[in-house]
Homo-oligomer: 354 residues x 2
């Protein structure tokens, strides 16, 4: 059988806004490019994706996204190398995970071709928006929402798949203080924590605000049962180094299967770092901090890349992490970003040229 | 200090759609009235609410509702009595719960006056949309969504509060078969289950679809820990009658504090029915069904009122409930709806005239 080649439609913006943007002072995710990709699901099929001018979305007041939170998203980045070529990092992993999330949230899956061809058409149209300054990139936000209507708690019959992009600087500035959470939880066993479902994130806002008020930037989520195990750091997977061993928890239905996490695991093995994927208890981390064997903690995710944690709070005490010369965090961050920006060999085959 | 009287703005629709609606064949939540109430939160304040023609909502692609599920809702009904007067049922309970949900979801709370005056102005404008046929009512959907923008997982700084209404018939037709769920969960300890947060509902769609495929209309949610306790029936609270005792679980951070539930509890006490509010195990329900002491199960909620359950599935077996002459479900449903429709005395002071 022949593969039909999908023809993405392109309607260009009349005027570019790019002249208004200060590319040397980019914050994260606040400025948007000239175009977006839109693909509608109607009558049981995904229609032809279309690149169009970035513009407001109009929805019925009874659209199910507004009432039942039927929405999912992804987060990716496009990088420019020194020769001006555009690169993505493991984009098919995002495409697959989008469909894993879709499945759990009763949203129709999007064919790979629609995702990849739509994304490439958008990136080609907005190519000049990909920043080149150190540490910056084009943050890409694919998302799906229920546009179908009705005040009935059941899946919608119409959806929108959209990709919007924001030239962005770094997510965090400097090191991060985190609080190990013992009251609030991010996700349930048998719940939707492993999906990038919108509602998972709004549920974190209030506990994170409480942590912010106490001087912490992020919450470390623990299991909702006994708050015994360390699970995620805000919207990042978490890594812990005890002595020379790098440890991260296994994924589960409560934990997002992060692409940065699994890439870091492979790079660490390649670097000869001893790696363990196993459950991490809060008490062992506190113990290791007390006896001096806790060397590093860092978060890993597309937006924040590798984010070293400078201290953690637990039950009214703060535990500082040592400042290391040649930390795993800095080595691993350099290896992964060198691949992403096409500054080094990519023995894993992760880089994807647009 | 004086109470400022809020003046709700009203912009009437040029033409009514009411002639197109068949009021004798109303489904639930699919037809919408001519107007809606809109109130915007900007620069730290809720602006003046406005009744305006029912119309699409336009939002930026980066509005946080689309990405992080920052949204909440309520569900109420307006009833017409034989004299044509309009009634609400305990509306201040919905107003308070909206703010409880808002607080948990990091959404600014809405002053009582904005809610009540906005709601009344809308109902007066769309008064002729309140159906009068037996069992039908005007379903009212207040909701709040994050309209503020940015690809950063943090609370929005702009929100919309909207009320839309749908003349509706009954939610379920006939009795309901339910499945006791042991794999998927609705909410976590320390999570947002007690809030009417959008994401809680989309998370139920897929498990409910799986149950539908097996011939059940609804899922009975159990705790996410050991699936040992019975918690809710879809978007209803659940009641169980063993011998002559009516039992419902206590509310918790996983269970919505339903207004129908607490009204039913008061009416049952008033009826002299022995009532227990305590945790209910799955095994005692199965046991009671086997030994013939399980007399009734029913769901309770604004949309479905009191919904008798005809049988429940558990681990590949189905357990039928007996058909009773003078069931608690029918007695309690009659008492509550007689109050709602102003057909009987309201000794509790629940009815609210618009
Ligand atoms: C909850 C959560 N954990 C972890 C991650 C990291 O995943 P990835 O490395 O694929 O970006 C993300 C964000 O993307 C997330 O939302
Ligand atoms: C999860 C859940 N439980 C119970 C209820 C019943 O609450 P109420 O009686 O206030 O409508 C609802 C719906 O409103 C609900 O969404």
């Amino acid at each position: 059988m022949d593969t039909t080649t999908l023809k993405v439609l392109v309607e260009r913006a009349e005027k570019s806004k790019i002249g208004q943007v200060d590319f040397n002072n980019l914050s994260f995710g606040n400025v948007f490019t000239d175009h977006m990709l839109v693909c509608d699901y109607r009558n049981g099929v995904w229609e032809t994706p279309k690149v169009m001018p970035y513009q407001p979305i109009s929805l019925e007041p009874s659209a199910k996204i507004f009432h039942y939170g039927q929405s999912i998203f992804e987060g990716m980045k496009a990088y420019k190398d020194a020769d001006g070529a555009t690169w993505l990092f493991r984009p098919l992993e995002n495409q697959k995970r989008l469909n894993i999330s879709a499945h759990r949230m009763a949203i129709p899956e999007l064919p790979e071709e629609y995702f990849m061809e739509g994304l490439k058409a958008l990136l080609r149209t907005d190519e000049q928006w990909i920043p080149t300054s150190e540490g910056s990139s084009l943050y890409i936000r694919p998302f799906m929402l229920a546009s179908g209507t009705g005040f009935h708690a059941s899946p919608a019959n119409e959806f929108k798949f959209i990709i919007a992009c924001a030239p962005s600087g770094s997510y965090f500035s400097g090191k991060v203080k985190v609080l190990i959470e013992e009251k609030y939880s991010r996700s349930a066993n048998g719940g939707v924590g492993y999906a990038k479902a919108g509602g998972n994130y709004a549920g974190q806002f209030y506990p994170t605000q409480l942590a912010n008020e106490k001087g912490y930037q992020q919450v470390i989520w623990t299991d909702d049962n006994n708050h015994e195990y360390i699970e995620e750091a805000g919207a990042m997977n978490i890594f812990i180094r005890i002595n020379d061993t790098l440890i991260t928890g296994p994924t589960s239905d409560r934990i997002l299967d992060g692409i940065t996490r699994k890439s870091i695991l492979e790079i660490a093995k390649d670097e000869g770092i001893p790696v363990e994927v196993r459950k991490i208890t809060v008490s062992e981390v506190v113990e290791a901090s007390k006896n001096g064997t806790l060397k590093e903690m860092f978060g890993a995710g597309t937006a924040a890349v590798v984010s070293p944690i400078s201290s953690f709070g637990y039950r009214d005490a703060d535990y500082d992490l040592p400042e290391l010369e040649n930390s795993y965090a800095s080595r691993l961050k350099k290896r992964i970003t060198d691949i992403q920006y096409n500054k080094a060999e990519d023995k894993f085959g992760w880089r994807y040229k647009v």
